[in-house]
Symmetry: C2
Subunit: 475 residues, 2 copies
């Protein structure tokens, strides 16, 4: 997911009251239990594939792996591509008079660097202290395997699937899903389902599963400054414009030390947060001091804590710098006036910030502030999406989570991170559940999950399927 | 040298009137001519050694090469070291009642990167269109070989050296000469001479040799910002401080878009430029439009041209960014909140800006502006130095240059670049002459010199030695 871990640790405030309670079929429970070793093996095999979309590695291998896994489940499988990395889709037969559920996942992962900060190689899964360490373990090969393991449990238990399941696994999520809209257009009819289970949610430190009802949108890009046509000796810096200084000034014009985004028109477009959403945020009570300490920072931005911190995390847009580069970065010093400087950035979008509109506002901002020479490159992204907290399926997913994890689920109005949920959310309610935890370090070195959460996550998916089947019969 | 090429092209305004005119001994001229092939071969051999001090490469090999070359000249040679790369020193016997001349050079060179921008490998010297391309060809192995070739001509012609020559060749100039002061203290008596010939000056496009009377000082360092103790997912950027943003804001506080250095106290310490220095600067008439076009920039900073541009180049300090780094710099995008950001910088110092004092002012500036968390690392440097334009040896060097290059020499009050001249300038007058040209691209890919300038430079050195001998006899 393009969401995040290392989130502030969360403690309990309120919890949903269960409604669709009913014990899971014993055979199903036993089959899931018996399958745990198989599921872990599948996950390790999947994590061994370095499917880094940004670096165009392991894409074919990963999609082949999926085709194989889906055939093994007895599903009908297809590869669909619209110019980018293929999406792999699979489905079970429709259940007459029954519901359908669509699982969204992605098989691509983030680049593993910096490599020297991994305790074990990122693509050689290792188990230490009950945790599985590998790039993709949490984001989101673990989530995917929990879904496959749930479907596999029916097969193993000899119980027919009570709902139709559909898998949509794309290979470009970590690079902003550039061809997802085209793929979705082509699959428009196939994509219909009653409920979409999204990737990504993780549990809090005290074991409460999170149910996520949305994703932020995102705009990726690079600011590029050029100076003289070659690198020069830095003694020229007194008379020749420096692209590094231009970049610094352009960036400083976008966001100041008060953390306010200075792009004119940006904040006017923010949709007000609803009371229901704010109430959900209020149920999060981040242990700001403890979390800041674990992160090695003095305090969170603007000194926020408690519900105000949770609100900022869920509801505020952000302009993030992902990478700065330009000039000499080797050992020692080099007195060079470099010819180019770059800043990779992402802007986290909330409803109703449309990426194309934000890109336009950013360009206008730069022009207005005297930075016509600063180029915007590689702009791409998608808008935010949210499912209404009062949708009946929200309670359904929360109940299943409460049962699977043995602790009351917490409903998050949105992820802090981004995902192309909007493509799905305009067709059906989307609900994020997952197998990560607060320390999963997704996108970072030593990404990991607790192996036990993989199995809890499998039971969570089973619970959702079971409840959806009953819900179908008794609407 | 830590000075620069790609300087604005210069045209003639005034020229010094020759005084110590006297034809050079014919045997000497013929020996120098006969030696040209030998000198070029020596330079190619020297340039083949990748003596990059910043990367600790080729240091032993280069100092061995020098020892060999000096022995071949019949000089007494020693290696001197005070913890850093050794300096290689050599000398001829004193001339009773005669003068002495000290040649300053360095055998280290700048890192050759970016390698893919070289037309031929940087350490495999290549001759194209009468030019020798190699890292170090101009800065400053070419200057050094011109001096060796001059001394060699006396040997070849069977004429005793009319002055004592001393060579001081250090191996740390390109990393800021960190142990030069200690070496100089140890060699305090040896370092006495009547005149020091500095590395580095080059000729203008119309063939006029430059005589440089000073060097700027320099303060190198890095600004380092740290955030959380590991890289995080960038969705956390809305609540976790970003070291990349901190770096941007800290840098923007140091210098604004108006190019004014905002460090309090910085400008108070500038020594006023003398009338004589300003007059020399006024004799430079940079072709600002043409030079800017060749560099691929619209115009020079602040739109300057003419004498104002030359004055800024010679007399203004500068804060330069040499490299920015932090986060993901690979292909595509990575939504990471990096844990560290760095900016390598150099500050070009004019008299009387002392590096230690400037470092203190910079630290105080950061503290005052709320950047106590921003660290200053790897600070080192040295002050500026200037020789008075009215010293009689200045005219001597200019005359010799006029004769050697066949065009009137131009006297530059200082280099725009830096060098540890202050160590020498407090003991004797220092005068910079050299074999580079306006397009030598020192510190950059495709560094080169015109081979003919190597030989003109040799004659320039011969002329200085001859004149100094006569000057000695007729003070």
């Amino acid at each position: 997911m393009m969401s995040g871990t290392e989130r502030p640790r969360l403690t309990v405030a309120r919890s949903p009251r269960p409604r669709y309670t009913a014990p899971m079929d014993r055979r199903l429970q036993e089959a899931a239990k018996a399958n745990e070793g198989w599921a872990l093996g599948l996950l390790k095999g999947f994590c061994r594939i370095p499917s880094v979309s940004a670096q165009r590695r392991g894409i074919r291998e990963a999609s082949d792996f999926l085709v194989m896994a889906f055939r093994d489940l007895g599903l009908r499988v297809r590869r669909v591509r619209c110019g980018g990395n293929p999406a792999v889709i699979a489905e079970s037969p429709p259940v007459p008079g029954g519901r359908s559920i669509l699982f969204y996942n992605h098989y691509d992962v983030q680049p593993p660097d910096p490599l020297d900060e991994w305790s074990s190689p990122p693509f050689d899964p290792a188990i230490r202290g009950g945790r599985l360490f590998a790039r993709g373990a949490a984001d989101d090969k673990g989530d995917f395997v929990a879904r496959v393991a749930a479907v596999h449990a029916y097969r193993k238990a000899g119980i027919p699937l009570p709902v139709q399941v559909k898998f949509f696994v794309e290979g470009e999520e970590e690079i902003g899903s550039p061809t997802l809209e085209s793929v979705a257009r082509r699959l428009s009819r196939w994509l219909q389902a009653d409920l979409c289970i999204w990737e990504s949610a993780s549990r809090s430190d005290d074991g409460r599963p999170h149910i996520e009802l949305g994703c932020k949108g995102i705009l990726h890009g690079e600011l590029v400054c050029r100076g003289a046509k070659t690198d020069l000796h830095s003694s020229r810096g007194v008379i020749v414009p420096s692209p590094l200084w231009r970049l610094v000034w352009a960036l400083a014009s976008i966001k100041g030390r008060d953390e306010r985004i200075a792009i004119r028109g940006f904040r006017d477009r923010l949709r007000p947060v609803t009371a229901a959403e704010r109430a959900l945020a209020a149920s999060f009570r981040p242990d700001a001091g403890g979390a800041a300490k674990r992160l090695g920072i003095g305090r969170f931005l603007l000194g926020l804590s408690g519900a105000r911190l949770a609100e900022r995390l869920f509801f505020e847009p952000a302009v993030n710098l992902n990478g700065l580069s330009g000039g000499y970065q080797g050992p020692g010093s080099k007195t060079v006036l470099p010819r180019e400087a770059r800043a990779k950035f992402d802007i986290r979008l909330v409803p109703d910030l449309e990426p194309a509109e934000i890109a336009r506002l950013l360009r206008r901002h730069l022009d207005r502030h005297g930075f016509r020479d600063v180029r915007l490159e590689d702009l791409h992204g998608y808008p935010a999406a949210r499912t209404a907290p009062d949708h009946p399926f929200v309670r359904l997913a929360a109940e299943a989570g409460t049962e699977a994890f043995g602790r009351p689920a917490l409903i998050q109005p949105t992820m802090a991170g981004s995902g192309p949920m909007h493509v799905f959310a305009r067709r059906m309610p989307c609900i994020g559940i997952g197998v990560g935890f607060g320390g999963s370090r997704i996108h970072a070195p030593d990404e990991s999950i607790h192996v036990a959460d993989l199995h809890r996550g499998t039971r969570h998916v089973l619970g959702v399927i079971e409840r959806l089947a009953r819900h179908g019969r008794n609407p």
